[in-house]
C-alpha cells in the first residue's frame, strides 16, 4: 500500500465506512439472493441448490479445522456420515421431527470430533492426513457391520421423508427444505465468521502458522486443537443431517472416502481458510461434476483431479483468493 493510502486511513477514520457500507449491501443482496431461487427454480434445480448449500456447510466445517487451524483432515466424510445417520435413525426408528434431531446430531458429532481430536494432538500434518484418510476408507465397512445393522439398516440403508412446511406456509416440501438448509447454513456461517474474527479464531490461526511460538505464548494448544476438531465435526455433521433429509435416504456406500475427498477438493478450490471460499467450494463440488461429465462423459473423475491439481499449481488460494486479489486491484485502481 502506498504511504499516502496508509496515512489517509489513519487520519480519516471515515474512510473505513465505505467498506462497511459495501459489506451491508452485500449481506442484503445475499439475503435476497437466498430467497430468490424459491420462486425462480424448478423443483430439481432447487434440490441441487439445496445440496450445494449443504455441501458448502460441510466444506465450512472442514475449513475450520484444516483451513484455519492447520490440522489436515482427509476423513471429514466420517463426521458427515455420523450426522446423517443420527438424524436418520432418530427420524426413522423413533419418529422424531427433523428439528429435534439437530441438536442431538450436533452434540454427538461434536463429541466424536473431540474424540478424534485427542489422538490427533500427537500427529503432525502428514500422519494426521494418513490417519483420517484411513478412517474415511473404513467408514462404509463400519456402517455395514452386523452388530449395528438393526439401527443402521445395513447395506439397504434407511428411508426418510422430507418434512412439510409447518403452519401451512405456502411452500412445497422441497422449497421448505431449501429454506431450512439456507437458514441453518446461514447461522453456522455467521457463527463461524464471528469465531474466525475473535481471539479464539486468531489463536487457531496462530497455532497453524507457528505452533512453537503459539505454545511459547501460553496458549492452551491442546484445548484449542481438540476444540477446533469438535466444532468442525459439529458443523460438518449438521450438514450431514441436512443431507439425510434432503436426499431422504442414507446408505453406507454413499459415505465412502469419496465424500472426504470431495470436501477436501471443495475446500482447496473454493479457498482454504475462507468463509466465502467454503460457499464457492460447495457450489463447485455440486455443479462441476456435472460439467466434468459434459466435458468427458467417460472420465469425469479424471477431469476433477486435473482441476484440483491445476488449482493447486495456479490458484492455491482458490476462487476466494482470486476474488480477493481482483477486489484489491480494483480498490487500488480507484485510488
Amino acid at each position: 500500500m502506498a504511504e499516502s493510502e496508509t496515512l489517509r486511513s489513519v487520519t480519516m477514520p471515515e474512510a473505513r465506512n465505505p467498506a462497511r457500507a459495501w459489506r451491508a449491501i452485500l449481506v442484503l443482496a445475499g439475503i435476497v439472493a437466498a430467497f430468490a431461487p424459491v420462486y425462480l427454480l424448478e423443483s430439481f434445480q432447487l434440490f441441487q441448490l439445496t445440496m450445494a448449500v449443504i455441501m458448502a456447510l460441510a466444506v465450512l466445517g472442514l475449513n475450520i479445522v484444516t483451513g484455519y487451524n492447520g490440522q489436515i483432515s482427509l476423513g471429514h466424510g466420517a463426521f458427515f456420515a455420523v450426522g446423517a445417520y443420527v438424524t436418520a435413525i432418530l427420524m426413522s426408528h423413533f419418529d422424531w421431527s427433523f428439528w429435534a434431531t439437530l441438536p442431538f446430531s450436533a452434540a454427538i458429532c461434536a463429541a466424536v470430533g473431540y474424540g478424534v481430536g485427542f489422538p490427533a494432538l500427537r500427529l503432525g500434518g502428514l500422519y494426521l492426513a494418513l490417519t483420517t484418510f484411513s478412517l474415511a476408507v473404513a467408514v462404509p465397512q463400519i456402517l455395514k457391520h452386523k452388530a449395528i445393522e438393526d439401527w443402521t439398516g445395513g447395506v439397504q440403508g434407511l428411508f426418510l421423508v422430507k418434512p412439510d412446511a409447518p403452519f401451512g406456509l405456502p411452500f412445497t416440501s422441497d422449497q421448505w427444505m431449501y429454506l431450512v438448509a439456507v437458514f441453518i447454513a446461514g447461522l453456522c456461517f455467521w457463527g463461524t465468521w464471528n469465531l474466525v474474527r475473535s481471539r479464539i479464531g486468531r489463536a487457531l490461526m496462530a497455532i497453524r502458522d507457528n505452533p512453537i511460538a503459539a505454545e511459547a505464548m501460553g496458549m492452551d494448544i491442546a484445548a484449542l486443537k481438540t476444540g477446533a476438531f469438535a466444532v468442525s465435526a459439529m458443523v460438518t455433521g449438521i450438514a450431514g443431517s441436512l443431507s439425510a433429509v434432503a436426499i431422504e435416504f442414507v446408505a453406507p456406500d454413499s459415505f465412502g472416502f469419496g465424500v472426504s475427498i470431495t470436501l477436501f477438493v471443495g475446500m482447496v478450490v473454493g479457498g482454504v481458510a475462507s468463509i466465502l471460499g467454503s460457499l464457492f467450494g460447495g457450489l463447485f463440488v455440486l455443479f462441476v461434476p456435472n460439467i466434468a461429465e459434459a466435458i468427458s462423459k467417460a472420465a469425469p473423475g479424471v477431469i476433477y483431479g486435473v482441476i484440483l491439481i491445476l488449482f493447486l499449481f495456479l490458484l492455491p488460494d482458490g476462487f476466494a483468493g482470486l476474488l480477493r486479489r481482483i477486489a484489491a486491484r480494483l480498490t487500488r485502481g480507484r485510488q
Binding site: T66, G70, I72, L74, P119, R122, L123, G125, L126, Y127, A129, L130, T131, F133, S134, L135, V137, A138, Q141, I142, K144, H145, K146, I212, F257, I261, F264, V265, V268, V272, A298, A299, P300, G301, V302, Y304, G305, V306, L308, I309, L312, F313, P316
Partner: protein
C-alpha cells in the same frame, strides 16, 4: 491347528504384498518426507496394463517385466511433471496433489478399462497340493517373488553407487548437491522404483482379490499400517511391519472381528501405533529441539 497354521501362512503371503507396498511408501517418504496417497492407484493402473498385455496374447513373464518398465517410467514422469513444481509448497498443497493423483489415476483406470471385475492370471499353479494343503502354489510363488524384489531393492541401496547416491539425496539433499549428485533425478528415480515395486505388488495380489479399479485401496491401508508399525523412516522396519500386519489381519479376520471388519483392523493398528509409539517399532525417535 491346521486352520491356524494356514492363516499364518496365508498372512505371510499377503504380508509380503503389504511389505512391498510399505517399502515403496517408505522410500518416497525418506526422500521427500511425503506419503504418496496415490501409490495404490498407480499400482492398479499398472496391473491393468499387464492384464491388457496378457489379453493381447503376450506371455505372462514378458507382460510382467514390460509392466515393471512402464510403471518405472510413469513414476519418473509423475515426479518430474507434478511433484517438482510444488516441492517447496506447504504440506496441504502436497496432500492436495496426491489426492489429485489419486483421483486422476483411479478414475483413468476405470475409464480406460471399465469397472467390471477382471480375472488376473497367476503363473504359479500346481497339480498337487503343496505342503499338505498348507500353502497354495500362488501364495508360495507370490511370497518368493516379493522376497526377491525386497532383497534386490535392499541390495541396490546397500551396495550400488546409485543406491548410495539416492540414500544421500534422501538424507541430506543439500550436502548431496555439494558432492555433485543431481538430487532432482534421484527423487525421480525413487518414484520410478516405488511405482515399479507397486506394480509387482499389484500383479501378485490381483489373482487373489480379482482386478478392479478399487483393488489397491484397501491394500494401501494395510501397507500404511505396516509402514507405520515398522517405522515410517525405516525401510527394513516397514518390511517387517508389512509382514506382521498381514498375519495380524488374517488372524483377526478369522478369529476376532470377522472378515467384514478387516479394514477396521488396519485403522486400529494405524491409530494404535501413532498414539502409543509414533516412531514405530524400529523407527528413529525424533525429538525436535526448539
Amino acid at each position: 491347528m491346521d486352520g491356524l497354521a494356514h492363516q499364518i501362512v496365508a498372512g505371510i503371503a499377503t504380508g509380503g504384498i503389504y511389505a512391498s507396498v510399505a517399502l515403496a511408501i517408505v522410500m518416497i517418504y525418506q526422500a521427500t518426507h511425503h506419503v504418496n496417497f496415490a501409490q495404490g492407484e498407480i499400482a492398479t493402473l499398472s496391473t491393468f496394463l499387464a492384464w491388457s498385455m496378457i489379453q493381447a496374447g503376450l506371455p505372462y513373464w514378458v507382460a510382467f517385466f514390460a509392466t515393471i518398465a512402464v510403471s518405472f517410467v510413469i513414476g519418473v514422469l509423475v515426479e518430474r511433471l507434478l511433484m517438482r513444481p510444488v516441492q517447496n509448497a506447504p504440506v496441504l498443497t502436497h496432500v492436495g496433489v496426491f489426492i489429485g493423483l489419486l483421483l486422476i489415476f483411479g478414475n483413468a483406470t476405470g475409464w480406460i478399462f471399465g469397472y467390471t471385475t477382471k480375472v488376473f492370471p497367476t503363473p504359479f499353479t500346481s497339480d498337487k497340493p503343496l505342503a499338505g494343503g498348507l500353502i497354495s502354489a500362488h501364495e508360495l510363488g507370490s511370497t518368493v517373488v516379493t522376497l526377491v524384489v525386497l532383497t534386490l531393492v535392499w541390495a541396490f541401496f546397500r551396495f550400488t553407487k546409485l543406491g548410495l547416491g539416492m540414500r544421500a539425496a534422501a538424507y541430506n539433499p543439500r550436502s548431496a548437491r555439494l558432492v555433485g549428485i543431481r538430487v532432482g533425478w534421484m527423487l525421480a528415480l525413487g518414484w520410478g522404483l516405488a511405482a515399479a515395486i507397486g506394480a509387482v505388488a499389484g500383479m501378485m495380489v490381483a489373482p487373489v482379490v480379482f482386478l478392479d479399479p478399487t483393488m489397491m485401496l484397501g491394500i494401501l491401508l494395510y501397507a500404511f499400517a505396516g509402514a507405520l508399525l515398522g517405522g515410517i523412516d525405516n525401510p527394513m522396519g516397514a518390511v517387517i511391519g508389512g509382514f506382521v500386519v498381514g498375519v495380524l489381519e488374517n488372524l483377526a479376520g478369522a478369529y476376532v472381528v470377522g472378515t467384514e471388519l478387516k479394514l477396521t483392523v488396519a485403522l486400529a493398528i494405524i491409530i494404535g501405533v501413532l498414539v502409543v509409539r509414533p516412531s514405530g517399532l524400529f523407527g528413529r525417535v525424533v525429538y525436535s529441539r526448539v
